[in-house]
């Protein structure tokens, strides 16, 4: 557990955090995005084997606003963003709070490649500086940023293929120990085209169904965001949810109801791309904070 960072010492960081949030909101308003709010407490989170929702009076605290925001896309909203709290059971460390602040945005009619460009523009606007200094690294924000496929990253940094890593059940370990520490060190890095088995709610790549149109953004070795060209096929999405749900069951984890209203809306959802960005982490990088504790007013241990 990270140590408590005295509240009074965080005043400068909290002022900077507020300024970053203002720049983020301005960015989206200027681009014609509507800021939306969706309920924090929901009956059926997306079934994901490794993300655990916290039960709340019969329902759950959201792990992400994804399902409600996609229902808005299906209802005709074309550019929406949200800054909200999300909760994930058991996630606590120098880069994790089990209650944290997420920025999600969705845009109809584009794919994940367009979203990479929009993410670059957002972070440049949020930083309001051409370079940042983070944990002794000098990180150049000028465009273009590095783009590397997951397959290339495994070959370059882990000395194996991504397929061998999946086969041997060490994908996560190699990602954490060997690959993540190498990403985004001199420029931010997009790592993209995840194996289809890690596709979550992303559509498979046109012309190469072994990978999904999914990317993550890393700055200074820190994972900042996860994005998809959204899957709009309700049959395929249900099949993936069922597979995740059965993995949850085999791990002895709490079952969730199937998000039926989301699945029925998905049939009407236009092609779109969406992204979830950890705002606390972005603030950490921009403020050169070694721990997420330094950029929030209260940690769970402070309460």
């Amino acid at each position: 557990m990270p140590g408590s960072w005295p509240l009074a010492r965080r005043s400068n960081a909290l002022a900077e955090r507020g300024a970053i949030f203002n720049r983020v909101r301005s960015f989206f308003q200027e681009k014609g995005y509507l800021e939306v709010e969706t309920p924090f407490r929901i009956p059926a989170p997306a079934p994901e084997a490794q993300i655990d929702a916290i039960p709340a009076a019969g329902w759950f605290l959201q792990t992400s606003p994804e399902l409600c925001m996609k229902r808005m896309l299906a209802a005709g909203y074309r550019r929406i963003f949200q800054i909200c709290r999300c909760w994930r059971e058991g996630e606590r460390g120098v880069r994790h709070l089990s209650e944290f602040t997420m920025l999600e945005w969705y845009r109809a009619g584009v794919d994940y490649l367009s979203l990479m460009e929009e993410t670059e523009a957002l972070i440049v606007a949020a930083a309001s500086a051409p370079r940042i200094s983070y944990r002794g690294l000098d990180i150049d924000l000028s465009l273009p940023w590095e783009r590397i496929t997951v397959a290339q990253a495994f070959e370059r940094y882990a000395g194996t293929t991504v397929w061998a890593a999946l086969e041997e059940g060490v994908f996560d370990e190699l990602m954490v120990e060997r690959i993540e520490p190498q990403l985004g060190l001199s420029r931010p890095t997009f790592i993209y085209d995840y194996p289809a088995s890690c596709s979550a709610l992303a559509r498979l790549k046109q012309g190469d169904p072994t990978v999904a149109e999914r990317f993550e953004l890393y700055i200074g070795g820190l994972e900042i965001a996860n994005a998809f060209s959204e899957l709009t096929d309700p049959v395929e999405q249900r099949r993936r949810f069922e597979s995740e749900a059965s993995e949850r069951a085999s791990l002895g984890k709490l079952p969730y109801p199937m998000p039926e209203k989301f699945l029925s809306a998905l049939a009407r959802m236009p092609d779109a791309a969406g992204i979830a960005l950890g705002l606390d982490r972005l603030v950490m990088v921009l403020l050169d904070a070694g721990s997420i504790d330094e950029v929030v007013a209260f940690t769970p241990e402070d309460l």
Partner: protein, 187 residues
């Protein structure tokens, strides 16, 4: 018995029947992946270190250590001397085995001396200790540098960051688990 979720810096666990202390700990979770618990472990007898990554669901036995309540007396060469207040027995512990505890040792501090197979191999200090600030720069009112902390040296020689209003001679509380300033002792 501990689970992976209990792992943290300072926890002592048994590996192959030998006591190890976690000297660095990191919770990691690659996007959509599983929780991983990364540790650096130090063998409390040999001092050798190793890196281990654990998954949720793994379990650990506590290190089989006995602890004895003792009082810190003095340092001599590279040894620290402690006394059992009931038996008046004195023992010496090598500096290398003391770890971060040396930052907090003031005369008569009550500590737990850790014993493994009849040999003292380390000490646990209280979670919070009060130490007097012996050196820190004064706070200039109206300072606009934006700095929200400054370095201070305490009576043991340990240097840490403190809020700007802390002055020389003041008593502060330090959280020994993190080594960080916790609060000012009033009065």
């Amino acid at each position: 018995m501990y689970t992976a979720a209990d792992l943290r810096k300072g926890l002592k666990i048994a590996i192959d029947n030998e006591p190890y202390i976690i000297t660095a700990f990191d919770f990691a979770k690659p996007g959509k992946g599983q929780a991983l618990y990364r540790t650096k472990l130090k063998n409390m007898i040999t001092g050798s270190t190793l890196d281990r990554t654990y998954r949720s669901g793994e379990t650990f036995e506590p290190a089989n250590l006995e602890d004895r309540k003792m009082q810190y007396l003095y340092k001599e060469d590279d040894h620290y001397c402690f006394m059992d207040n009931d038996t008046f027995e004195q023992i010496h512990i090598n500096e290398a085995a003391m770890g971060d505890a040396v930052n907090y040792l003031i005369d008569n501090l009550a500590v737990d001396v850790l014993i493994f197979r009849d040999k003292a191999i380390g000490v646990d200090v209280p979670n919070f200790v009060n130490l007097r600030v012996t050196q820190t720069d004064p706070w200039v009112k109206g300072d606009t540098s934006g700095s929200d902390s400054k370095p201070a040296t305490v009576e043991t020689g340990y240097v840490l960051r403190v809020p700007p209003f802390i002055e020389e001679g003041e008593l502060i509380t330090i959280d020994t688990r993190t080594g960080e300033y916790s609060t000012r002792v009033k009065g």
